[in-house]
Amino acid sequence: MAQAIAPLPAAASPHRPASHQPALLFRVWRAITRNLVVFYAFLALLYIYLPVIVVVIFSFNDNTGRYNFTWQGFTLKSWLNPCGVSGLCPAMVKSLQLAALSTLGATLLGTMIAFAIVRHRFSGRTATNVLIFMPMATPEIVMASSLLALFLNLGIPTGFGTILIGHILFNISYVVVTVKARLQGMNSSLEEAAMDLYANEWHTFHKITLPLVTPGIISAALLAFALSFDDFIVANFNSGNVVTFPMFVWGAAQRGVPPQINVMGAAMFIVALGLALASLAMQRRSA
């Protein structure tokens, strides 16, 4: 082996300019690695989609037993009767209400903080940054249990309101980070131009700043909605006798999972994908 390879570089180097060889090798290597990346990405996508495919398939399962774990035949009955399991749809409504209200609250509070941080000078900046970072560095279970400790100590009964408090809390930091990124990436020359053209501050904000930040605020709100809607841990600790959708799924997992839960999961995936594709199409049209 060594004999066969060894003479090659010696033979090649005096004839060819050295610069060609690495460049060519580099290109060949890159072609290989490029396709490797495509192949790898395809595998990763398959892995990511496997559970979704299972969720969708089992939403059509003609399940007769308690657990929806083995395939028994195709049926549309769960899709035609998604609220057929008692408690499922009320839990869904509760989760949607919580997500909507906590998104509203966190987006408002978080956007205000983001504006203050990016656009203003104030004392206590470091302390503010630490206070915003801390909830993101704290596992949800710690937040959930600390909130319960507080409510127990103060004798506040847990329920819808206490879950809402927790959801707004863990969403604020994510909103701040998202809106802040947008504000920092924004070119301030448009606002300066408006001011130079004698627009007053409020007018500038309303006509220039706000439209420019809106995409950031929208993505922050979507993130907040998703995080709140999907939260199990904070709700489980602070719910009293309120049952949110993830809590319903948790309970069902102990008792038996009806296919309707898969219907809801599949529907959520379809709605999210649909909204995302629609927003993408709108972006493309306006671009």
Partner: protein
């Protein structure tokens, strides 16, 4: 006089403006994050039971007792979270790289396709893994055919299933920061490395990877933190032999009503993570995470 509004942002004329903007949000954080943590700290130093009531006796031994009794679960939390974070990095980096450099004008579409499955609800996804890894499922059969698993071997109810579940569930938290930092990366720098005779592997490890460090740090943190506190994957995919600290906190708080132990464990988990994060961020050298 046209220089006057030069760098005046929104309503910056008034000095109290930033405080007015900060006040409501920071007040919320102070009331419902700082106060609860302080309450938890106080609870962790109390003695008593649910029937006799709890009194603050500054019992530090709550911490040593809790830690000693649940050292295994504590160790597993850190181990499982570290493994999942590493696996997620290995899975997501090439994917984020592909989207950032190879997806062209379909970048945003690809990103959506990657993130969309995570809207099926955390618990439903985890239950779905339960079906996939089930004893009679095709994954187990494939593993057995390949000889990776003995004939009667299982995946479900093992630590493999738990780590796989945790890895899967937090993938978007890894992918999105990685993508953001790779997408911002100037591709001409990689080409320059090639022009300067760096092989593709050298170019990757000397240029691409170091420049994507902010994304790597943010992604690993955003994955590790929720993973270390997770207890849902264990409940669905594991057994009590795989219990993590989250399971103990959950049952101590909600079932056993042993608040001091649960509080001491929560505080321990929180501070362990803060210390690990602090050390890690300092080593990685990126301070501007937030």
């Amino acid at each position: 006089m046209s220089t006057v509004p030069a760098r005046r942002g929104l309503l910056s004329g008034t000095r109290w403006m930033p405080y007015a903007l900060l006040l409501p949000g920071l007040l919320w954080l102070a009331l419902f994050f700082v106060t609860p943590i302080l309450t938890l700290l106080s609870t962790s130093l109390q003695e008593g039971s649910i029937s006799t009531g709890f009194r603050l006796t500054w019992r530090i031994a709550n911490y040593t007792d809790a830690f000693w009794n649940y050292r295994e679960q504590f160790g597993r939390s850190i181990l499982y979270a570290s493994l999942s974070t590493l696996l997620a990095l290995v899975i997501c980096y090439p994917l984020a790289y592909f989207i950032a450099f190879r997806a062209g004008r379909y970048k945003n579409l690809m990103l959506l396709i990657v993130v969309a499955p995570f809207f099926t609800s955390f618990l439903i996804r985890t239950l779905s893994w339960k079906i996939i890894l089930a004893d009679s499922g095709f994954v187990v059969r494939v593993f057995q055919t390949l000889g990776l698993l003995p004939a009667g071997g299982r995946l479900l109810a093992t630590s493999v299933a738990v780590v796989a579940g945790i890895t899967y569930n937090f993938l978007p938290f890894m992918t999105l920061p990685l993508y953001t930092s790779l997408e911002r990366l100037d591709a001409s720098l990689i080409e320059a490395a090639g022009d300067l005779y760096a092989g593709p592997v050298t170019a990757f490890f000397k240029v691409t990877f170091p420049l994507s460090m902010p994304g790597v740090v943010a992604g690993t943190l955003l994955t590790f933190i929720p993973a270390a506190g997770d207890y849902i994957n264990v409940r669905f995919l594991g057994t009590p032999a795989q219990y993590m600290l989250g399971n103990v906190i959950d049952s101590r708080f909600l079932a056993v009503l042993d608040y001091p132990t649960a509080a001491a464990l929560s505080i321990t988990l929180m501070f362990t993570i803060l210390v690990l994060v602090g050390l890690y961020v300092r080593r990685a050298g990126t301070e501007d995470l937030v």
